[in-house]
């Protein structure tokens, strides 16, 4: 058994790291304060092929393998979790359209998603529905027979990059009340009846342009249904959220690594009681845990990536485990990073305060830590 990246994967990681160091990390605190990732940066991500990067080259994507995609997400997440979250949700939409989309929708949207010419956003959560995806109240009613338009009505909340997205993956119910069947639709931004309202005052990933969507009789063609009626949670959400978890897990590794980088630098440079902080054993213990946990989280992500690449049925469980551990690790690493920085950690002069706020979000999105704790013991894992 050899556990190492290929030369191509290492080269790609170097590219992603250099891009993040030049274009993202120096600006992330400013974007956080402004509560917005600038359009200019989205353009740079597009030019590099970082949006829709898993889609094949023939569609205009970069055709990254699962591991290289993970490395991309880690490096971007190391610089800014808000930017990483754009990749996450955009790729979730692309993933859903590729697997479950109607041929007409695939033809229309996939090349644009692959090039990043349009931005996708994932619209599942509602004011009253989060972890319990079956409880969404947005409705979809078909008019004019089996080929007729669908009319969507309801509210969506916490839609990441909803403020600037062009295409929303909307979860709705077909049919009334408890018997309603969860079903997924594509909704274009220009659709009459759609109102996009920015959400402000968010704790973490502040620059991710969250929005609330109000759908007032939004009409979409029959070809915009994604997957079968009733398959919205069992198949489309499950498949799409697994992709999202994989992306968030790697992003959490990146955030954990950023905490480690900042903490090691600070602990070596800052002196107290006549010696650098790293010479104090209690600080050293925090750093040792951070190093080991971030490395362990990365290994879980690599394992999940290998299983996903080989389409192993155990990939879902492994991805949950990776997301769970990486998010918890990032939260602990960020908390300890602030502790190591002391009063400076509570200041905007250092990025660790942002890391802490962003890490909290990672424990909530794409299946909260508690949802993973409920699910992980119930699923068998593929043996090595």
């Amino acid at each position: 058994m050899r556990l190492e990246l290929t030369a191509e994967q290492r080269a790609a990681r170097d590219e992603f790291r250099a891009f993040t160091a030049a274009e993202i990390a120096p600006h992330a605190d400013r974007w956080d304060r402004a509560a917005a990732v600038p359009r200019e940066l989205v353009g740079k991500l597009r030019e590099r092929g970082y949006l829709g990067s898993l889609l094949p080259a023939e569609l205009g994507g970069r055709g990254l393998d699962m591991i290289t995609y993970g490395l991309l997400t880690e490096e971007i997440g190391r610089g800014c979790s808000s930017v990483r979250s754009l990749l996450t949700v955009h790729d979730m939409v692309a993933h859903a359209v590729q697997r479950f989309g109607d041929p007409a929708a695939r033809e229309r949207f996939l090349p644009a998603l692959a090039r990043g010419a349009i931005l996708g956003a994932f619209a599942l959560s509602e004011p009253g529905a989060g972890s319990d995806a079956n409880s969404v109240e947005t409705t979809a009613v078909q008019e004019g027979g089996p080929e007729g338009d669908w009319v969507l009505t309801g509210r969506k909340k916490w839609t990441t990059f909803g403020q600037i997205a062009d295409l929303y993956l909307v979860f709705a119910k077909v049919g009334e009340g408890a018997g309603g069947q969860p079903t997924v639709f594509l909704l274009e931004r220009a659709t009459p009846g759609l109102t996009v309202t920015p959400l402000h005052g968010i704790t973490g990933t502040r620059a991710s342009l969250l929005a609330e969507l109000t759908l007032d009789g939004c009409r979409v063609p029959a070809t915009h249904r994604v997957g079968r009626i009733g398959s919205g949670v069992t198949h489309v959400a499950s498949y799409t959220l697994e992709q999202g978890r994989y992306s968030v897990a790697w992003g959490a590794v990146g955030l954990g690594q950023a905490c480690l980088d900042a903490s090691l630098a600070y602990a070596n440079e800052r002196h107290q009681f006549g010696v650098p902080l790293i010479r104090h054993q209690l600080v050293s213990a925090l750093l040792a845990d951070m190093i080991v946990n971030v490395r362990a989280a990365r290994l879980l992500c690599l394992r999940a990536g290998w299983l996903r690449a080989s389409r192993d049925p155990g990939a879902g469980a492994e991805t949950m485990a990776a997301k769970y551990f990486a998010a918890v690790t990032a939260a602990k690493a960020a908390n300890d990073a602030v502790q190591i920085h002391g009063a400076n950690g509570c200041s905007e002069e250092y990025p660790v305060g942002r890391y802490l706020r962003d890490a909290k979000v990672l424990e909530i999105i794409e299946g909260s830590t508690q949802i993973q704790q409920i699910s992980i013991p119930r699923f068998p894992f593929t043996e090595l």
Partner: protein, 92 residues
């Protein structure tokens, strides 16, 4: 004869996979796995991934009817239909 043998082999593989989820239950070919109360959204897509990888088929949107995954027998029939279609479509 071959068809029956293939079906039996597929059913054995499907049972082995599902047994990982139903550890304390001897699953019968016709038994409704959804009625046993374990199946949730993660298992639904894991089943699809298993069937695609194990039998080398592509489960299309039209195949994602839960009835096609309701029992060992149902999954085995889906596999037989998909592989049969593939054989017919292949050039001579």
């Amino acid at each position: 004869m071959d068809q029956t043998k293939n079906q039996t082999q597929s059913q054995a593989k499907i049972k082995e996979f599902l047994s990982r989820f139903f550890k304390s239950h001897d699953l019968k070919p016709e038994e409704d796995i959804f009625a046993l109360g374990f199946v949730n959204s993660l298992l639904a897509m894991q089943l699809v991934a298993f069937v695609e990888k194990e039998f080398g088929i592509h489960v299309e949107d039209a195949d994602l009817d839960l009835d096609n995954f309701r029992s060992i027998q149902a999954i085995s029939s889906l596999v037989a239909r998909k592989t049969g279609t593939a054989a017919e479509a292949a050039p001579a």
